[in-house]
């Protein structure tokens, strides 16, 4: 009986964490007005979201042992994030075009390359991550890393212009009227040989 009680206690704690994390994600979406709920529900959701934050120990100091223990457990069990894939709506997708400038004036265009489709899905996820980030230096750093990986394969290149944009998809009716996928410019970064040598540092 004692063994069962231990299992039961662990079960309750484990599922409380799963449900808290899942609720938090749902409330986050409502609080930011991304759902069909009326805008009046935003403030309630924001308050509730804060409560779930507290339940995960996020109101504790970053060095708190309890907060770190909870975060570690969530990662070990794979329950650190919610399950709203492609929800409430399918997000935008992004594209990075690398403009390679050679010493003779030649310009070539490349996309970040991997060997297999499975890794291609991961690169698409990385571009989504870059597109979503609101912290400019982090975005620039990630784009720089992608440009640098292309540089290694093309050592003759003197400058790389990385153009990051979102892909605008046509709706069904737009597609029927002849509109096709388009590319909308968001950011552009120039990396020269000097940047390559001096600015790529470990974070």
């Amino acid at each position: 009986m004692r063994q069962k009680s231990v299992y039961l206690a662990c079960f309750i704690l484990h599922f409380l964490l799963i449900i808290t994390v899942s609720f938090r994600e749902t409330l986050w979406l409502v609080a930011r007005g991304l759902t069909i709920f009326p805008s009046s529900s935003k403030s309630y959701s924001a308050k509730a979201e804060k409560a779930t934050f507290a339940a995960r120990g996020h109101n504790l100091a970053a060095s708190s042992a309890l907060r770190q223990a909870l975060a570690t457990y969530l990662h070990l069990a794979g329950i650190e994030r919610g399950y709203g894939y492609f929800a409430p709506n399918v997000p935008e997708s992004y594209k990075l075009v690398l403009e390679l400038h050679y010493p003779d004036g030649r310009v070539e265009y490349q996309l970040p390359r991997v060997n297999r489709a499975a890794a291609g899905l991961r690169v698409a996820g990385l571009l989504d991550e870059i597109g979503r980030t609101r912290y400019d230096p982090l975005r620039e750093y990630m784009v720089r890393m992608l440009a640098y990986s292309t540089w290694r394969e093309n050592p003759d290149v003197t400058m790389i212009r990385a153009v990051f944009g979102s892909i605008s998809l046509p709706s069904i009716s737009e597609f029927e009227h002849g509109k096709r996928e388009s590319y909308e410019f968001l950011y552009a970064y120039d990396f020269s040989r000097i940047d390559k040598a001096t600015e790529l540092e470990t974070p």
Binding site: T35, I79, P88, G125, M145, S149, L169
Partner: protein
Amino acid sequence: METWRERILQFLFPAGSNTWLAVLRLGLGLQIILYALSLENDWTYLFAGTGSGLVSRNLGEAILSLESPFVPRLGWLIALGEHVGLSEQTVLSIAWVSLLGTGCSLLAGLFCRSSAILAWFLHLCAAKSGAFVSYGVDNFMTIGLFYLMLSPLPDRYSLDWRLRKSRPKDSQVLGFWRRVVQLHLCVIYFFSGLTKCLGSGWWDGTNIWRALTRPPFSIVPLEILVRWKYFLPVLGISICLIETGYPVFIWLKKTRMIWLICVLGMHIAIGLTMGMYLFALIMIILNAAAFGPGVSGTESKGSAVARCRPASV
């Protein structure tokens, strides 16, 4: 109050066959093998540190350390390798080969427990170090491997069971872990369905269109999709209903089989039309293990239960 407690315990600790565990072990073994093979040529490129990777592993690990410095990562293995004079590339190659090896070992059912722990650890290291290049499949693989390594291995179809004569001691603990996987799937589908229901695009088929035309998932030609445009809202609403209704209808005897078929069908369709084969496979494995055995009432409970010692309560 006592009756409620007993009912809850009865529900959470059913005595049952370990066929579900065999399905989970075999499925995850296969998943690990396919995962490793699919990344064979890109492994070092995806997980190398500054200087030779796609996007620095160090960046992902630095951000992970802000949350907790105790989450396993490839950086630990690389630092360990440096102590014995191994390069980063060698350590990454060893990690890849070891991961593939644990997949094969799980598939064969040899050293089940240690293989499950090693597979969970190595996959977790890769998923966390490559957080920027990880997606849903990594999340669900971690969940599956976490439960597998904690479950009472080996199962009766494994080589360990036949060769080493090792047996799990308690059939009710076996039932408990199956319940955990089942209930976790219910939470997953409920919240996945709920958040979809909250988006307008799932009710009019817009999101199905967007999901199927969004690069890199745009496998089906748009001309074909347009021909099925009146079917897309039905498909969107069906997905919302299947997912949100999962925690209820998967438990009812009359609807269990239908719901399981619908969910498996949904994941097969996702795999085929969006190219997310590994994601589809892990979801099929988790569902098949949790609700597959016994779904048609044909599971031979008795023989398996008899081989396990009853729980000492």
